[in-house]
Amino acid sequence: MTTFNDFVIRFANVNGSGSASANSMFAKAIFRMGVPVATRNIFPSNIQGLPTWFEVRVSDLEHFGLRDQVDIMVAMNAETYKQDVQAVRTGGYLFYDNSKPLDRTLVRDDIVEIGIPISHLILPEFADPKQRQLFKNIVYLGALSSLLLIDFDVLKGMVSEQYKGKDNLIQPNIHAMELGRHYAQEYLECPLPIQLRHSENVGDRILIDGNTAGAIGAIYGGASICAWYPITPSTSVAEAFEQHAKRVRVDPETGENRFAIIQAEDELAALGIVIGAGWNGARAFTATSGPGISLMTEFLGLAYFAEIPAVIFDIQRAGPSTGMPTRTQQADLLGAAFASHGDTKHPLLFPSTPRECFEFAADAFDFADQLQTPVLIMSDLDLGMNEITSDALRWDDDRKYNRGKVLTAEDLDRVESFGRYVDVDDDGIGYRTLPGTHPTKGSFFTRGTSRDEYAIYTEDPDIYTKNMNRLLRKWETAKGLLPKAEINDTGQVVGVVYYGTTATPMKETLALLENSGIYVDTMRIRSFPFGEEVESFLSFHQFNFLIEQNRDAQMKTLLVNELGISPDQIESDLFLIRSRAEFSFARIRNKSRPD
């Protein structure tokens, strides 16, 4: 039986071999045929020589989660050949370079082998050893276009786009592609029963990664200062910010940059710069990952207590310590929520898609300014570094930045007395002034020490207590401001709860459940502190399954701790590293059928 637009293909390569651009061209070509795709780069923390995998899930139904086994394996790395052969599902396809004979001990009789003499095809055509290596990737791309029916014009167009300005590279690339394409047409049974066809399912959507979308969100949200320290998987946030700011944030007349980017000496300094800028009234952010958050905790406590806006992207990776720098996880929740000593807590945002990375990034600057506190965007490697079909980015030109309570010189002339930490509006948020505003009014001393409402140092226990309780009032205000959970409630007994990238496999999980006649309600948590709707959802459902990617049920801990609900109300569905629809489905199904 022939299936269309529904398969998982994995490319096994050696990193540094030039496979990345060929593989992303493969994904983009399918996307351009109107078919939704999600990519997953599984790579080592290394520059050259180690195994790397690139996976593309092609799905008209937008089932984008990770699958345990793949339909097609493009096995280009001899070192991982054994495990790569094992990863193919029964009835699936193994694509390999048969220039050298295959180790017959690895052969499986339940899969289909497709051998192409890639090295032999290349050898007479290209003299340069570097080109011989690079074009291996292009040859298999050409062969796959015949086997899977990738629109060849689309592929050729992409080569021309990729090498625009380096025109001498276009023809050799197309030639290499045609070598593979013609070989497949002549010697292989084309096409395979797994095929592509043009589809309308992409619409006006885009293929983008969350870090890039988030960086563009920071530009639209008015961030003018970015301070950062390189760390996987967050580095591309700062890089994308720079790349796009250079295009859209340069004064057209003077050529001057309406932005400043500092690659700081460490993460401590990166957040220090952000805090200094926020104190002085510019929107600023940093991007980091777990180890950076650990280093930033002292400064996070300062920004919380001194009440200074800051935006931090935490692109989570597998911890603890250095952990697995190139593997995804949702394990920084508790560390980020309560980062720093003393009673501190910080608002967190949980984007699930690149579009939401864009929106939450832009919104985070409003929230930070309104709440006068650091706001953390809790993305992860999976969302941050992988391209996925996403809703296009949208901006309302009537939108005005909400800079929160900042007094101008005119305001100061009108007010009788100014106290930085006076809770005038009973929402826990005082009015602040920026340095240099007024010659005689509104100056105050910002400090991490205890102080009274007028920012004067004090160790008076009553004043200290009053201030700490006001910060709790602010926390209540935050609940009304932050994005509400996305809830689908049709009165079912079972509630399924997820957040961030555990949302990615959910469409498939729900489809599997529905096919089994099991209907569940869902809630996607989008922020911390939790709004009332989160508590209601959990209370109204007899069983709540909470899917997360960490060992210790960190979101559950937050929910139990903040909402005061019983731990029995939530059943954890934990994946230490790789959340997968078929597993969640099985667990939920077993619980939903008490027999």
């Binding site: 983008i208 859209v248 001057e256 805090i275 200094g276 104190w279 901006w395």
Partner: protein
């Protein structure tokens, strides 16, 4: 704690500066440092310098880390914003503040613990970035606020209050600043207003990173730079009390000596500090010579004071980053947000 209350009424003969302000308008709150602390002399010198330059007080931003020195921004320029950040991290906060608004004057006050130990990395990188600011280190060679531990600027071989010798090499922030590319580097002594005030004025008007290391004696835990025979004042006077909660009042140490000469100062603990003032014909534009002179003086047990190095017309961080003359914190939505049409073009590049 300074117990003398400040008078509320100005003497009618007090001078107004060019913008119609009096010295009082540049003062801050009452100092809580020990009486006679060199740091208070530095604050007083800052007040004089800013007042004499007729700069508007509210256009300053004062930043500091943690420690006795870092408390002092409360004690000058009461009409400007201050930011007492975390230990050793003032340079990064100052960097962010400066990036947000290039039109203000930035004064960072730090100490030898704050800058030469916990914050040495941030200090070095702020210098590298050519941040346009005045960076003052109130250098007393000791951790005053935690009662007299060694600091990294104390000389090897000198001893603490308890008679324990310092076993490790000392760090000279002036040499570091020179090596890392600071474009204004000076050293002075807190009690030498004739030297310190003009240095502060020049540093404030300098574009780029201006660093002044001010030797500022600690009246309680005197492990000053250059001392090799420290002993406790109270013990010297026959008292066994060494706790910091009993402080005998000390006089501020003042000096006045000629350019080119060497001057021996007796500090509160009875030890001697040898200050050597640069001669009037010293050429401060030669960085290599400045480094050599500093090290030569150290070899002979002297502390060289004066403007060691200056390089004018240098670019600062904003020039390097090519930011606009209009401060980034004054940019409006229309200047920051590229709008929906542009976003559609961006979307198109991802299709």
């Amino acid at each position: 704690m300074t117990f003398v209350a400040k008078p509320k009424i100005h003497h009618p003969l007090l001078q107004f500066n060019e913008i119609g302000l009096k010295r009082r308008d540049y003062e801050g709150s009452v100092s809580t440092l020990c009486a006679g602390c060199g740091h208070d002399s530095v604050s007083a010198a800052i007040i004089m310098a800013c007042s004499e330059l007729s700069l508007p007080p509210h256009r300053f931003a004062k930043l500091s880390g943690i420690g006795c020195s870092s408390k002092t921004p409360s004690y000058f320029l009461g009409n400007s914003h201050g930011f007492n950040s975390v230990h050793g991290r003032m340079p990064s906060v100052a960097t962010g503040a400066n990036l947000a608004n290039r039109e203000m004057y930035y004064i960072g006050v730090s100490g030898d613990g704050d800058s030469a130990s916990i914050g040495i990395g941030q200090f070095a990188h702020a210098v590298r970035r050519q941040l346009n600011m005045l960076y003052i280190v109130d250098n007393n060679g000791t951790y005053g606020l935690t009662k007299g531990q060694f600091s990294a600027t104390s000389d090897r071989g000198s001893t603490s209050k308890k008679g324990v010798p310092i076993l490790y090499s000392s760090i000279d922030l002036v040499s570091m600043a020179l090596q890392l590319g600071a474009t204004f580097v000076a050293r002075s002594f807190s009690g030498d207003k004739q030297q310190l005030v003009p240095l502060l004025k020049a540093a404030l008007l300098h574009k780029g990173f201006a660093f002044i290391d001010v030797i500022s004696p600690c009246v309680m835990f005197n492990n000053h730079n250059g001392s090799t025979k420290s002993y406790d004042y109270l013990r010297h006077n026959g008292s066994r009390v060494v706790e910091a909660d009993l402080t005998l009042p000390h006089e501020e140490i003042r000096v006045n000596y000629e350019a080119g000469s060497t001057h021996a100062v007796t500090l509160h603990d009875g030890s001697t500090l040898h200050l050597q003032k640069l001669a009037e014909d010293y050429d401060p534009t030669d960085r290599i010579k400045a480094l050599t002179r500093v090290q030569e003086a150290q070899e002979t047990g002297n502390v060289l004071t004066g403007l060691l190095y200056v390089k004018s017309d240098e670019s600062d961080l904003h020039d390097i980053l090519e930011t606009p003359s209009k401060p980034l914190n004054e940019m409006s939505e229309s200047e920051l947000c590229p709008g929906s049409q542009r976003l559609e073009q961006i979307n198109q590049s991802f299709r």
